[in-house]
């Protein structure tokens, strides 16, 4: 426990509740800036699925909700079982990481397949972007809640240790409502950072799209981008799987 995460617990102990919740939002946002937390995969997903702003917002909402629920469930589980000697959330966290890895690999496979087909389809119909039917752009992922949950799980299913400790503190000191409010705030902060990353990715992609109109190489890059994004999700899934399996085997 170091730095900003420790401030979360300090705020719970000492600060007035509106300030404590505000600090929790800020700590959550700052926490998500650090490496990990699925920002790379969020970016890859939005590029691969040609995601729109609404999709980025939905993703942020799912991340906030999933992080909050997983802190609450883990905290309660720990509180219920901790009196027994064998209680440990370490192994639960390891299995959680494996579940996340499997979800991401599955998502990567689905997205890869769809984008590869869309890519082949575009190739078969010539390079120029064209719209021969109405609706979302070709290759754009259908609105998929399971896809959003899979991406959100990377940053949210195995929650922050500080948020977990915060809830345990709340349960043990009879200040559970404040702890829950702060956990929700932390999740919202986390989601805000991820949303900012997502919107930046979308803005960058759209900018590239506009520039690509008169630029052959850029247009080609734009055509390949969703495939790269899909490949990145698979790569991310592989890395997550390796670390999760290593943790399980090493334990």
């Amino acid at each position: 426990m170091t730095g900003i995460d420790a401030r979360l617990l300090g705020a719970f102990d000492d600060a007035l509740w509106p300030i404590a919740v505000g600090i929790a939002v800020l700590v959550g946002a700052a926490h998500a800036v650090r490496p990990g937390h699925g920002k790379t995969l969020v970016a890859a997903y939005l590029v691969a699925e040609r995601g729109r702003r609404l999709q980025a917002v939905a993703l942020a909402v799912v991340i906030a909700a999933l992080h909050t629920v997983s802190v609450l469930v883990l905290g309660l589980l720990w509180w219920w079982t901790a009196e027994g000697q064998a209680a440990s959330i370490d192994s639960l966290a390891d299995w959680g990481r494996l579940l996340v890895a499997v979800l991401v690999l599955g998502l990567g496979a689905v997205v890869c397949r769809r984008q590869w087909r869309a890519f082949r389809h575009r190739r078969a119909h010539g390079h120029a972007p064209h719209h021969h039917h109405h609706g979302p752009p070709e290759g754009a992922g259908p609105w998929s809640w399971s896809g959003l949950v899979a991406v959100a799980s990377v940053g949210a299913l195995v929650p922050s240790p500080a948020a977990f400790l915060l809830l345990v503190s709340g349960l043990l000191t009879g200040r559970a409502p404040l702890a829950v409010a702060m956990v929700v705030g932390f999740g919202l902060g986390l989601a805000a950072t991820v949303l900012a990353v997502g919107l930046m990715v979308i803005a960058g992609r759209d900018w590239l799209g506009r520039r690509a109109a008169g630029h052959r190489a850029l247009a080609r890059l734009g055509a390949w981008a969703p495939l790269f994004g899909a490949a990145a999700i698979v790569c991310g899934g592989c890395v997550l799987s390796v670390t999760a399996v290593a943790a399980l085997v090493g334990a």
Binding site: M1, G10, A82, A232
Partner: protein
């Protein structure tokens, strides 16, 4: 032309894989684990405290006591046909063999009876796996004792320790830097008090209710999306 495209794709994939690895790997570096705990039991005039902590907190313990040096050299032994193996004591051996760690534990977990301190005996043999065992010898048979826990709060004031005592009152307590002392009663009336179940049960009900609400809302959203022309 075709070859260069393939090479470009491969280069792109390699770059993405590297980015993915860089982005994902450090997530494992700040692990979710059990908090520090102290389990108290009383037997006659003795109080036993079992202190456990996750591995990263053990490293902090090694650091504040000086048992694990902050700057380290690793020397590897390269045998002719063997895997390279590090030479010297492991971190676990450094911790369990350290007098300073034992003294630190005895200083930061203290038991008193009627204002008199009960001297501690510290057993570090199982520190890493099971936890450190402290046995406090009190002058009188134990019914009520004052237990002070300030483990690692000198490293960071946000550190906290969850204490449990089966059949005692209270059954659990959270030690923080602002609340380092608690009185525990191990007499017969203590077992009747039990834990406060209200907040956890209310929370569990709230989680179940919001999960159910989320499912209903998602279904409705999906139905609306399916019904509207694309």
């Amino acid at each position: 032309m075709r070859l260069t495209a393939t090479v470009r794709v491969l280069l792109g994939l390699t770059a993405l894989a590297t980015a993915g690895a860089v982005g994902a790997a450090p997530a494992a570096a700040h692990p979710l684990g059990d908090p520090q705990t102290v389990r108290l039991t009383a037997d006659g005039s003795r109080v036993k405290a079992l202190w456990t902590a996750p591995p990263d907190d053990l490293v902090v313990l090694g650091s504040v006591t000086g048992a694990i040096p902050d700057q380290r050299e690793y020397v590897f032994d390269l045998g002719a046909d063997a895997e390279p193996a590090p030479v010297g004591e492991t971190d676990a051996e450094l911790l369990t063999g350290s007098r300073a760690v034992a003294d630190y534990l005895a200083e930061h977990i203290r038991v008193g009876q009627d204002g008199r301190e009960c001297p501690a005996e510290v057993d570090l043999a199982a520190l890493v796996d099971e936890g450190a065992e402290l046995v406090f010898a009190c002058p009188e048979p134990v019914t009520a004792v004052e237990v002070e826990v300030t483990m690692l709060t000198d490293a960071d004031p946000a550190y906290r320790t969850v204490a449990f005592a089966d059949g005692a009152a209270p059954e659990q307590h959270l030690y923080t830097v602002g609340d380092p002392v608690a009185e525990w009663r191990f007499d017969a009336t203590a077992a009747e008090e039990g834990r406060d179940w209200f907040a956890p049960v209310a929370l569990a009900v709230a989680i179940a209710a919001s999960a159910a609400a989320a499912v209903v809302v998602l279904r409705r959203l999906r139905r609306t999306a399916a019904g509207s022309p694309s």
